[in-house]
């Protein structure tokens, strides 16, 4: 082992130029992939291609089209039926319909209107030609009010504004198309008083903010880290090494990420900053060890021999922490885990190559006599020295109390962790001041719910959809569902069939009902089918084997949507017993499925990370005793954070699910550094109490610095525009604070409590 280490150290120091040039060439080569950088926050990217929920979603889109409807609320200065306003909406609808990006437009001018005139079934747009002097507002009003389906979907609560429903085309790459579609919609509505809402609108906003935040944080965290390093070290060599490492590491990682066609999202957006932070941690330890090693001709090689192994293991444990996400059922976490692991191991090699290169120069220049940077000096005075001495004295006197107090804290944390709620509330990712969020909530209040819950109903038996009993039950079901405070505007083929029956009979209100025989329904539908303007494809499959029931719900969290789906399912079962097959379609089941996947990912990733990290630590120290000593101080901070989340009502969601597995990989680094030095001192024959004090004095400062860097690096995220990212940064920062506390107080106390005679 030692000879291998010697050879590695010789190679790094003697061939330093080749390594650095190789690294730079590789970086430049990979930079060619940077233009491929893309952002994708769509829900679909969370799912594996063969996930049944995703397959179901794609099937729904194939049958009925896109359920990612853009709801455009438009308020005129005057009346919604005024000629000027209708003219505007007519032009807007026409322009939207002509676009290859839009599949369907439902507006007060373009929605299909059916009537019977002179014994002729007429299906045409509500406003068939551009409103001119002959346009009569009362005719449009009469037509709109005559069609209950459109009345409930297109007019707001007080009748002062309209809602235009825009259905984009189904695209394989919806996330790439979405900004273009929304820009086009916004441009088309320019000049009117409008607001947009819809899940796609929220996603687009999240994508934009992620892109902005990603570049902002990377620059901001780089700047803050460099300032911190300079203040803490007060050494230009360390600063220079840090800058070079940061640049190479970032470009190299992003290049590899893009080369594999990966897209950044709200989880992977943190990767560049995270990898840079970890990289700097290694740089700090390498430099701190060099300056801490006795000056002399072998100073550099000795220091590298001491630090390469613990640094490798700290990087390895962090990488293993990330790798645990491979077990997640979510595609996005799998790729996050893989690329974060690659990034972490990459940063280790970059940090070692760059630091060794600079240290060789310093070492040659000073003949191995370079003095300790001002910031790293462990003089027997100063605040840090006094603090460390105090901690050492305190733990040695009160180690039992420290361990007992930690156990109490752990118990409390476990209690509150049990209160942790798994949920995802997409619109709540946006800050309250965000305009998209404000508009979405406004439309919900002024117009009503617009988020579609799609249900596919498959009656058992051929052509069952045309059965009057089935349709009558569906009509009752719609009424029943609409009575629920959080559900409204249930629509289905029933609305078409009833209206068709009304106009094909006597146009009276009393005829707005399903015909009483299957033949009548079939023949009326056949007549409707004959008209090229019919919109049956949006409501029923061409073979009439199933139909689509759409229920509008508020933009709530996935747990609440899950409850609503349960209510709908029960209502359907109560009405139909087992006469129909019920499949929830569209995007909502994906949203709900995330709850299960998040819980599953949290458990699997944390368990795997825990196992891999501690087994590798056990292998490093080749001792079960040290394995056990490492576990406790690293579990306590994570449980404390999860407990705080539980107590504060912060959801375990798609953004915060990574925290536990990630922080365990990070927090164990200091424990490894501490125990590695401590074990060395014990091996040198230093008595236990002195070994603890010496370890605290020598490793205390780099532990403080590396932890401060982690805390600063993550706390920068409080400036994010996405709430989940703010929580993510704050919670990791907090965990790191708890972790340093545990490493300084609990770790020595455990060593003292479970002291070994040898």
């Amino acid at each position: 082992m030692n000879s291998l280490l010697n050879r590695i150290v010789d190679l790094i120091t003697e061939k330093k130029n080749y390594f650095l040039i190789g690294l730079i060439v590789l970086t430049i080569g990979l930079m060619a992939f940077l233009p491929k950088l893309k952002i994708d926050n769509a829900l679909e990217v969370w799912f594996l291609k063969d996930d049944p929920t995703l397959i179901n979603y794609n099937e729904f889109k194939k049958v009925y089209g896109n359920d990612e409807i853009i709801a455009v609320w438009v308020k005129p200065d005057t009346d919604i039926y005024s000629k000027e306003f209708v003219q505007k909406i007519y032009t807007i609808s026409k322009n939207l319909k002509q676009s290859p990006l839009i599949k369907r437009v439902i507006s007060i001018t373009s929605a299909p209107y059916m009537d019977s005139v002179n014994n002729e079934l007429k299906v045409e747009d509500l406003v068939n030609t551009s409103p001119d002097d002959t346009f009569k507002p009362e005719v449009l009003k009469e037509r709109l009010l005559f069609t209950p389906l459109w009345k409930k979907l297109m007019i707001n609560k007080d009748g002062s504004a309209i809602v235009v429903l825009v259905e984009p085309i189904v695209s394989e790459d919806m996330d790439a198309k979405r900004p273009e579609i929304l820009d086009f919609v916004k441009k088309t509505f320019a000049g009117t008083n409008y607001k947009l809402a819809g899940m796609g609108v929220v996603y687009d906003e999240l994508n934009k903010l992620s892109m902005r935040d990603s570049s902002l944080f990377t620059s901001l965290s780089f700047l803050l880290l460099l300032i911190s390093i300079f203040i803490l070290f007060r050494n230009r060599h360390v600063l220079f090494a840090s800058v070079i490492t940061m640049i190479i590491c970032t470009l190299l990682f992003v290049g590899i990420f893009c080369m594999f066609g990966q897209k950044f999202n709200m989880v992977s957006a943190v990767l560049p900053s995270l990898i840079v932070i970890l990289c700097l941690e290694d740089v700090i330890y390498i430099f701190a060890t060099y300056f801490d090693t006795k000056p002399g001709p072998n100073r550099l090689k000795e220091s590298l021999k001491h630090i390469l192994v613990p640094c490798f293991f700290t990087s390895l444990t962090t990488a293993l922490g990330f790798l645990s996400f491979v077990a997640s059922p979510m595609a996005i976490l799998k790729s996050f885990g893989i690329f974060a692991s690659i990034g972490v191991m990459l940063e280790y090699f970059v940090a070692v190559i760059v630091s060794a290169f600079i240290l060789v120069i310093i070492d040659k220049k000073t003949g191995g006599q370079a003095s300790m940077p001002a910031g790293l000096e462990t003089k027997n005075e100063g605040l840090v020295y006094t603090l460390v001495r105090w901690i050492s004295g305190f733990t040695q006197k009160n180690y039992k109390i420290v361990v007992a107090a930690s156990m109490v804290i752990l118990a409390i944390a476990i209690f509150f962790t049990s209160k942790l709620k798994v949920d995802t509330y997409t619109i709540e990712f946006l800050l309250d001041s965000n305009q998209v969020k404000k508009d979405s909530l406004f439309i919900e209040k002024d117009y009503g719910f617009y988020l579609p819950i799609e249900v596919r109903l498959k009656p058992r038996g051929a052509n069952g959809v045309k059965d009057p009993v089935f349709l009558n039950k569906l009509a009752d079901l719609q009424v029943q569902i609409e009575k629920h405070p959080n559900m409204s505007n249930a629509t289905s083929l029933v609305d078409i069939v009833k209206q068709l029956n009304r106009i094909l009979t006597d146009r009276n209100e009393s005829s707005y009902k399903n015909p009483d025989s299957k033949d009548k329904i079939a023949q009326e539908l056949l007549l409707y089918e004959m008209d090229e303007n019919n919109d049956l494809a949006n409501f029923v499959t061409s073979d009439y084997s199933e139909l689509r029931l759409t229920i509008r719900a508020p933009m709530v969290s996935s747990q609440n949507i899950k409850k609503m789906m349960g209510t709908i399912d029960t209502a359907i079962k109560n009405v139909y017993k087992d006469e129909v097959e019920v499949i929830f379609g569209g995007y909502i089941p994906l949203y709900v499925k995330l709850i299960d996947y998040i819980a599953e990912s949290q458990i699997s990733s944390f368990a795997i990370a825990f196992f891999l990290i501690f087994v590798s630590t056990g292998l490093l120290f080749r001792s079960f005793y040290y394995f056990m000593i490492t576990v406790i101080p690293n579990i306590v901070p994570i449980m404390m954070t999860l407990g705080i989340m539980g107590a504060a009502g912060i959801y375990l969601d798609i953004a915060t699910v990574t925290i536990a597995a990630l922080t365990i990989g990070l927090s164990v680094d200091n424990t490894i550094q501490f125990l590695y030095t401590y074990k060395k001192k014990i091996a040198e024959g230093i008595p236990m109490n002195d070994a603890i004090t010496d370890t605290l004095i020598t490793t205390g400062k780099p532990m403080f610095i590396s932890n401060a860097i982690l805390v600063i690096g993550f706390c920068v995220m409080i400036f994010a525009s996405v709430k989940s990212v703010i929580f993510f940064g704050l919670l990791i920062g907090l965990t790191m604070l708890f972790a340093i506390g545990c490493d300084l107080f609990l770790l020595p106390s455990l060593l003292l409590l479970f002291k070994r005679e040898k």
């Binding site: 194939k62 002729e120 033949d519 056949l526 499959t541």
Partner: protein, 251 residues
């Protein structure tokens, strides 16, 4: 003998020249105005296959009769059971939109269907009325682009570009058999230049001396669905009564 050989050769040459010299307009005119008798009766099995769901089948009785330059057709539904007895009357007007009526036996009512464009779907299938032989020559400009065999029959390949660029299909590439001028294949392209539909005529036979298509298929290459029409019990010139094609006769 020598004279006979010369005569035969002269006949072959003149025949070849006659066909070789056919202009594209002449080819199209022949293809669009094929001999189809004064009236026509057939049983049709229509199959509509969509990418999702089970295929839909309809059994229809079809009647057609010429009325001068125009023609009228009547389709009676035999199955499925819930639409049995429904009749669909179309007056195919050469120079204006078609007139259409549907008789619904369950309601005992005849309903007129709004005048639709000829590009609209034929009874909910992938075929349009134009595909059924109702497209006017004046709507396109034509060009012969070559010749190729289709199902062992030599064909002219004619490209038709729609004069009205806002039409659903702006280009058609038709394969027209040289021996009987039946369009055996037609590829339909949209405004982006993508091939979106393919029409195929198969099983072509002479019945009562009239070249007759027994099987038609229209594929929607975008949607990945298709419709087929299979004709049987075909009869020509049976002297169908004009009364059969009156609106009043539907009920």
């Amino acid at each position: 003998m020598k004279k006979t050989i010369i005569a035969v050769c002269a006949l072959i040459v003149s025949f070849t020249i006659a066909y070789a010299e056919l202009t594209v307009e002449q080819i199209i005119s022949k293809a669009y105005n094929l001999e189809d008798g004064n009236d026509y009766t057939a049983t049709i099995n229509m199959k509509i296959v969509r990418p999702v769901g089970t295929p839909r089948e309809r059994d229809l009785q079809f009647f057609r009769k010429d009325f001068g330059a125009d023609s009228r057709s009547l389709i009676k539904f035999n199955s499925p059971a819930d639409v049995r007895g429904t009749s669909f009357l179309t007056w195919n007007n050469k120079n204006r939109d078609n007139d259409q009526w549907l008789f619904l036996p369950a309601l005992n009512k005849v309903r007129r269907i709004a005048a639709g464009s000829k590009s609209q779907s034929f009874m909910g299938s992938h075929f349009s009325y134009e595909d059924m032989g109702n497209r006017s020559m004046s709507m396109d400009t034509f060009k012969i682009t070559g010749s190729q065999p289709v199902d062992n029959s030599d064909c002219y390949v004619v490209e038709a570009l729609a004069k009205n660029k806002s039409e659903k299909y702006v280009k058609r590439v038709m394969s027209i058999r040289k021996d009987n001028f039946i369009i055996v294949r037609s590829d339909l392209f949209d405004s982006s230049g993508a091939l979106v539909k393919r029409y195929t005529a198969k099983n072509i036979k002479q019945i009562n001396g009239i070249w007759t298509i027994l099987s038609l298929k229209m594929e929607d290459l975008k949607e990945k669905g298709y419709s087929t029409l299979d004709f049987s019990n075909i009869q020509y010139n049976t002297g169908l009564s004009e009364r059969l094609f009156r609106v009043e006769a539907l009920q």
